[in-house]
């Protein structure tokens, strides 16, 4: 059985990240009260939660969608890594919950490396 390791590894990393982004996007649309606690205080002073959560959902959904369809993966992975880093930084007080995001962050970084090296330049 032939295995295209590059294609498979990329697909697994992209699907794993995309599912996490999709989950956050859809769940916070369906059940916003469960997600309100993760929004940093300074943001709620600038923008209301009712407005922020749907915007963040759409943003998460777009990242997940671009990752799964392999569109501009190099740049989308950078965006994903930055987003996850911010989530970890602003939720350090609940590290028992967000420690899994460190794994996701490393997955995003793995994708950045994979897509940077693929053609010897950015893809």
């Amino acid at each position: 059985m032939k295995i295209h390791k590059d294609v498979l590894v990329s697909l697994l990393l992209r699907a794993g990240l995309a599912i996490s982004f999709f989950y956050a996007a859809i769940s916070s649309l369906i059940y916003p009260t469960g997600w309100a606690g993760y929004v940093p205080d300074f943001l709620t002073k600038i923008i209301s939660l009712k407005l922020y959560l749907p915007i963040h959902s759409i943003y998460d959904f777009i990242i997940g969608f671009f990752l799964i369809i392999d569109y501009k993966t190099f740049y989308v992975s950078i965006l994903a890594a930055l987003t996850i880093s911010l989530i970890i930084i602003f939720n350090l007080s609940i590290l028992d919950i967000v420690f899994r995001d460190i794994g996701l962050l490393l997955m995003a970084i793995a994708l950045i490396v994979l897509y940077y090296k693929k053609s010897g330049s950015k893809k």
Partner: protein, 133 residues
């Protein structure tokens, strides 16, 4: 628990939809599929088993996933009778999936990564729908 299960259901339906859209796009563009694992995906998707009721399997899949997303959102807001329909259709989809897997394993003796990905998605969709309260 209900909203978590519906979230998972919608995610699986979206993944299934993207998978079928990829197959449809490649078919319409007449481009060969790149199979990450396995033998020749193209032999499977171009075989005589690639359609049912005058429709290509990928098109049937797309319709199924779109209807599933609509039903899931409807179920979330209204609940009730739609669940029975979801159970029936996910059961039928699982039966078709088992049949198509049998065709790959025993008749064609070739496996298609994207078809089996859809099979796994359909199995999980069925299990989630069966556990919905």
């Amino acid at each position: 628990m209900k909203h978590e299960l519906i979230t998972l259901l919608i995610i699986l339906a979206i993944l299934g939809k993207i998978n079928t859209l990829y197959l449809i796009r490649k078919r319409l563009a007449k481009k060969p599929l790149v199979c990450p694992i396995g033998d020749d995906c193209n032999k499977v998707v171009e075989s005589k088993y690639s359609h049912m009721f005058f429709l290509k399997n990928d098109t049937i899949g797309l319709i199924y996933y779109v209807l599933l997303i609509i039903s899931a959102v409807y179920f979330l807001s209204v609940s009730g009778g739609i669940l029975l329909l979801m159970k029936i259709f996910s059961g039928l989809a699982l039966l078709a999936t088992i049949y198509l897997f049998y065709v790959q394993a025993r008749v064609l003796k070739e496996y298609c990564f994207y078809c089996n990905l859809a099979a796994v998605i359909n199995l999980f969709i069925f299990l989630i729908i069966m556990t919905l309260p």
